[in-house]
């Protein structure tokens, strides 16, 4: 429990700051908006956190998100029904995860390098598939998809047919994912194996764990979640551009995981911590927006707040270690 106290405190403190920034900040519309963004980052944070727990890293997430969104739009423009396009995009994510995982486990390449290359390759594929996709284009080409797209938008991102945000569907999706990841991580043998691999791969192998298979599984889960977020991105935005969609999101995901208690050395982290870690960034962005400052200050404030957060977190963890 102590491990998540730091990030829990940070989240609460940021909400307090948010409520005090502007009269409208505490209204439910705004909170739903923030929650949706938290859900979106939360999904990729959970994915990369699994990889980080096994001692790996995935830098290709942002590109998979962007490519997933572009692929989703392009498939529908080409006449694939939205309900069929969603599983196809997720299949694309699974394939990316398999390739990443095989390169890491079979060829024994460094995860950092494999997924760094993946980041460029997949971004390149996205840009070759198309420059810009949007719902308008899909609907111009296939007006008959309107009903299906409206339903998807309502269920997956919580917007009704007029574009009004009704409920934080992406946050709800994240909670579902938290439940699933939490079950596997903390209640099943798989989770034990992932922690074991992250701490000491050799000892896990000598205990009979199929290390390669489990490392592959977490890369696949990570990329599949990123592709799903690509679908969400398309549904949420008016237009998606292949050269900037999802750029640097892998770093947001990794930051969320680390804030949530994952060690980049592997073997540590809890699902509640990850979810809380993912909630930090959208609140900061929202605070900056409401405080009426230029959006140019966002990166600086994000960076400084996160640095402060990690410092406080580290101090708390050091103290709890002494008392153990």
């Amino acid at each position: 429990m102590k491990r998540i106290l730091g990030v829990l405190g940070l989240v609460i403190a940021l909400y307090v700051v948010l409520f005090n920034t502007h009269a409208n900040a505490g209204k439910s519309d705004n909170l739903i908006d923030v929650a949706n963004l938290q859900g979106r980052y939360g999904l990729i944070t959970l994915g990369v956190a699994l990889v980080i727990i096994t001692g790996g890293i995935d830098l290709s997430i942002g590109s998979v998100v962007g490519c997933g969104a572009i692929l989703f739009g392009t498939l529908m423009v080409d006449g694939v029904h939205p309900y069929a396009a969603v599983p196809l995009v997720i299949l694309f994510g699974l394939a990316v995860g398999v390739v990443n995982g095989l390169l890491v486990t079979r060829l024994k390449l460094q995860p950092f390098l494999v997924t760094l290359c993946g980041m460029f390759v997949i971004r390149g594929i996205a840009r070759l598939i198309g420059g810009t996709v949007s719902r308008d284009r899909v609907l111009t080409a296939h007006p008959e998809f309107r009903g299906a797209l409206d339903s998807l938008r309502y269920v997956l991102i919580g917007k009704d047919s007029t574009g009004e945000l009704q409920f934080p569907a992406m946050f709800a999706l994240m909670l579902l994912a938290v439940a699933a990841v939490g079950f596997f991580l903390h209640r099943t043998a798989y989770g034990r194996y992932w922690y074991a691999i992250g701490h000491n791969e050799l000892a896990a192998k000598y205990a009979g764990v199929n290390v390669n298979r489990h490392r592959l599984v977490v890369y696949v889960a990570c990329s599949a979640l990123a592709a799903l977020v690509g679908v969400l991105l398309f549904l949420n935005e008016a237009t998606v551009q292949s050269d900037n969609a999802g750029v640097t999101w892998e770093l947001y995901a990794i930051l969320g995981a680390v804030l949530g208690g994952c060690s980049l050395r592997g073997g540590e982290g809890t699902v509640v911590g990850m979810a809380l870690g993912a909630m930090v960034l959208p609140i900061i962005e929202n605070v900056v927006n409401f405080s009426g400052k230029r959006s140019d200050v966002i990166p600086l404030i994000v960076g400084l707040t996160l640095l402060l957060g990690t410092m406080i977190d580290e101090l708390i963890r050091r103290r709890s270690r002494v008392h153990r």
């Binding site: 079950f183 209640r187 701490h199 050799l202 000892a203 896990a204 000598y206 009979g208």
Partner: protein, 504 residues
Amino acid sequence: MPTPRLEVRAARKQFPGVLALDGVSLTLAPGEVLAVVGENGAGKSTLMKIVAGVYTPDAGAVTLDGAPVRFAGPADAIAAGVSLIHQELNLAENLTVLDNLFLGRELTCGGFLRALDRRAMGAKAADLLARVGLPTARATARVENLPPGEKQLVEIARALGTEVRVLIMDEPTSSLTQKETEQLYTVIDGLKAGGVSVLYISHRLAEVKRVADRVVVLRDGRNAGELAEADVTHDNMVRLMVGRDLKQFYPKVKRSGTGGAPVLSLRDLRFRGGPDAPVSLDVRAGEILGTAGLVGAGRTELSEAVFGARAITSGELLLDGAPVRIKSPADAIAAGILLVPEDRRLHGLILPESVGFNLSLPNLDALGSPFGVKRRAESALHTTWIERLRVKTPSAAQPVGLLSGGNQQKVVYGKWLARAPRVLILDEPTRGVDVGAKAEIYALIDELAGTGVAVWMITSDMEELLGMSDRVLVMHEGRVAGELAGAQLTEEAVMRLATGGTST
């Protein structure tokens, strides 16, 4: 009696939960080689670290040439002429021998610029290297390119560069070849002649006999006795170290030892990274098959191949007479072939995780269900094995890395015993284990063999080999050099075979 070079009086050192030293005393004359022996956990390393200024004693006094000293740190001790050469070498691998010899005390010229005085250092290095029998040309070699023996000598040369009065050597030969060890002895003889006193710590009693003028034996943090040169024999040292009769220590109570049907058979086995000659052997039900050999004889590699951690390239493995295919540790474990590895910190345990986590890890197949791991069955497993093996831990939630070596090793045994092994491969079964836990582990191994488990024990500890084995295979350069049992099973016979001799 002349003033001793070094005297330690009633040194006491308490660590959290352990009293490492409980009033240990020793004296060291100028130019004397004093060996300090004792089981792991007897307090040897703590004593040495107190002498070398790494630890400060809670009580007691250290005097150097008659003057009381209290070192604030290793640098202080080195300045006073006391240098410790560690078990793990402390050289900067990426630098040259010359750089290492003067690391932290470079000879400089040019005042505050501290420009390196290469010429002066070169001259001094040549002198230091000559004193340890290394050629001058070595000065420019990078340390990482040297064989382990030469690294050891470079460490000694570095200590000599500080006008050393007391040189402490902690297991200096653990990674050396026979030839390198001989060279080290020559260097030690030279140091003695030069008036340097040496404190020599080793597990290898044969070595102690060769090199020591006097032996101090420690047991459980106390002086257990002292042997003058004439009395330094293997048996005397062991009696003082163990403090009990050897027969009791190595039980043969529960097992018959004659061996039943072969459980595990290796037929012309070759494996990746192994020797060209194939290996064949049988491990029988209810016996303890000991395997001896020098470091590098290929014993650990062979056991890794049987356990599936190393690829088998030809030959076959039979389990109860039927061929089995083992391509990974998971296959071996499924077949009931379990390995207690040589290096438990690397292969045996997930140190930051809890005792319970480690006990469960290879048993999760039995504990799983569609609703996750069965909590109640799991905690029953933890309690059972913590109690049966008498693991000293506050709870199953304690990180295993915080336990003592003996208790860590018990956890490694526990995680396998929960699986009911057919074949138990023990690679250095009591390495780094204190004497009390050792006795418990030996009793456990005896009991397991008594229930029909085929135990294959690989060990470099001669007493353990002779005390526990019903039958011994000696390996030399990757092949089985001979088999010994009963009256033939003597230390001399084992060493003859291990060094390439014949059994007759």
